[in-house]
């Protein structure tokens, strides 16, 4: 059976979570719209990482008892190590825009809004940017509105920076000192040229760019088995689509 795009992305993000980093991930928080990141955290745990996953929108047995603000208090305390952010636009300095396009922002197309991004980007040490659509429309030279900046001036309180950007085509690593992405791996079927063509911002390209490492057979068995069992209540539609109808 071929590996699905979802499985590939889950494995790629799991690799990023386990990668050596000054901020080890002991606790990750994931929202309702993020089944792939949630599965990636569970896969990293299956592979042996001691990580706790808080599913923010879990309706029954939610991880919080202080209401919606507890997530932000937790992040403020430094007790969330990893968070995922997306963007209607993401630019080459890892700035993200969740509000909309045009000038003023939203006048061309209005999107839901900032959510907690303007805070989480500063208080959570590791952020993985994730957006499946990889096109010049999304990956722009400069966002029309900064919901959360990729980097901040010296002296601005901030625990970390985006670690990487994962799209439907590739993985970019982010260097916060240079405020610049580097192409890190190509998903199967993509080339250096296809990435350059579909990316609106400039980035670095090393001499050797590997293919994105997919899931192992053991990974795939875990995803379809115990991980699905743990996440199916929260992401029923996603699980049915990616892992097929449930065996009776």
């Amino acid at each position: 059976m071929t590996v699905s795009r979802e499985e590939l992305l889950i494995a790629a993000i799991a690799d990023l979570i386990a990668a050596p980093n000054p901020h080890p991930v002991r606790h990750a928080a994931v929202g309702a719209a993020s089944p792939i990141p949630a599965h990636a955290v569970m896969l990293a745990r299956h592979r042996g990482l001691d990580v706790r996953l808080s599913l923010l929108q879990q309706r029954v047995g939610n991880p919080f008892t202080e209401g919606a603000r507890e997530l932000f208090d937790l992040a403020g305390q430094g007790r969330i190590d990893l968070f995922f952010l997306g963007g209607a636009q993401i630019d080459g300095q890892a700035n993200i825009n969740l509000v909309g396009t045009g000038t003023p922002a939203g006048s061309s197309a209005r999107l839901p809004g900032n959510f907690g991004s303007a805070f989480m980007a500063f208080t959570v040490p590791r952020v993985i940017l994730f957006r499946e659509e990889h096109s010049p429309r999304v990956l722009v030279p400069k966002v029309d509105y900064v919901s959360a900046p990729g980097v901040s001036a010296a002296g601005v309180y901030r625990r970390g920076s985006p670690q990487a950007l994962v799209t439907g085509r590739c993985v970019f690593a982010f260097d916060a000192v240079r405020a610049r992405f580097t192409l890190a791996s190509l998903h199967p079927g993509e080339t250096r040229e296809s990435i350059r063509e579909n990316t609106g911002f400039d980035y670095d390209e090393p001499t050797h760019v590997p293919e994105t490492r997919g899931p192992s057979e053991d990974d795939r068995a875990a995803l379809a088995g115990p991980i699905r069992a743990a996440l199916e209540d929260t992401y029923p539609q996603f699980c049915a689509r990616v892992f097929g109808a449930r065996a009776a």
């Binding site: 309702a32 719209a33 929108q57 309706r59 029954v60 939610n62 919080f64 008892t65 202080e66 209401g67 919606a68 603000r69 932000f72 403020g76 969740l98 509000v99 922002a105 939203g106 209005r110 999107l111 839901p112 809004g113 900032n114 959510f115 907690g116 991004s117 303007a118 805070f119 989480m120 980007a121 500063f122 208080t123 509105y145 900064v146 919901s147 959360a148 900046p149 901040s152 001036a153 002296g155 601005v156 309180y157 539609q237």
Partner: protein, 275 residues
């Protein structure tokens, strides 16, 4: 004493022009009361999404009840973008003030504590902060080196609207672990609560239930509203009616579709199971 009234009587307590705090879709949102507000024809509301907005806000916007909105996001979740919000943004009919989730909680906690402001980390360098000229950046007076930090002023809603899982005859209401609803009630001048059911006894006297209670001290009036969050979820009592929300999202893409939805589900004869 907190009076027990009808949902329509609660709606009548909300004056035109009020600054109204609403919980998001996943958190005890009082949709039956929102339908009653639309029937009452309320106008010029300034809604506050705590911290985000969804179906109930989209309904009120579509029905012409809202002139201003302060929120961190507007979304129907799985059902996609909020269509009447999106349309209102296109026509410029809505005065929108963007926020970010923890800033909304912070503003309400400032009101809850009776202080003029609270500080919040982050936001430095965002366009959100550039747009929010009502916020202030000061230099943290406890830091050795320069350390800019944002101060968020207190927000005092005129009215908080909540749907509780239970209410007792004294006006105590049970919202479980959604403690941010207690903060809304503490912060607001008036709190109107619909409850899924009225229970005997005193919720405050039961040590097992009391931790999830908002005391009647903060509750101005209560009405019983069975399935009062429908088509949204209510804790573990019932899930969201995803098919209904999908149908709404589709219908409300056009003004005509929205009008038809209103006529059938809000203004028309109410299905017994829903209201």
């Amino acid at each position: 004493m907190t009076p027990i009234e009808t949902v329509e009587a609660l709606a009548a307590r909300v004056p035109d022009g009020a600054f109204v705090a609403l919980p998001p879709d996943a958190s005890l949102c009082p949709v039956a009361l929102v339908r009653a507000l639309i029937r009452r024809g309320v106008r010029d509301l300034h809604l506050l999404g705590v911290p985000i907005s969804g179906f109930a806000t989209d309904l009120l916007i579509g029905a012409g009840c809202v002139s201003a909105l302060t929120t961190s996001a507007v979304t129907l979740g799985e059902a996609g973008l909020a269509p009447r919000f999106t349309a209102a943004m296109r026509t410029g009919a809505l005065r929108l003030t963007d926020a970010t989730c923890p800033a909304v909680h912070t503003a309400l906690q400032a009101a809850e504590k009776g202080v003029p402001f609270l500080p919040l980390r982050g936001m430095i360098g965002t366009d959100l902060l550039a747009d929010r000229t009502d916020w202030r950046v000061i230099d943290n007076p406890f830091a050795e080196a320069p350390d800019p930090i944002v101060l968020i002023p207190a927000l005092v809603p005129d009215i908080a609207l909540i749907h509780a899982a239970m209410a007792d005859r004294f006006g105590n209401v049970w919202v479980g672990r959604r403690r941010e609803l207690a903060t809304i009630a503490h912060a607001a001048r008036t709190t109107l609560v619909t409850a899924e059911r009225l229970v005997e006894g005193n919720l405050m006297a039961d040590e097992r239930l009391a931790p999830g209670v908002i005391s009647s001290l903060y509750v101005s009036a209560v009405a019983e509203a069975e399935r009062g969050a429908w088509p949204l979820a209510l804790l573990d009592l019932y899930p969201a009616d995803a098919a209904h929300l999908d149908a709404y999202a589709k219908a409300a893409r056009t003004e005509e579709g929205f009008r038809a939805y209103l006529a059938e589900h809000v203004l028309g004869p109410l299905p017994k199971a829903a209201e």
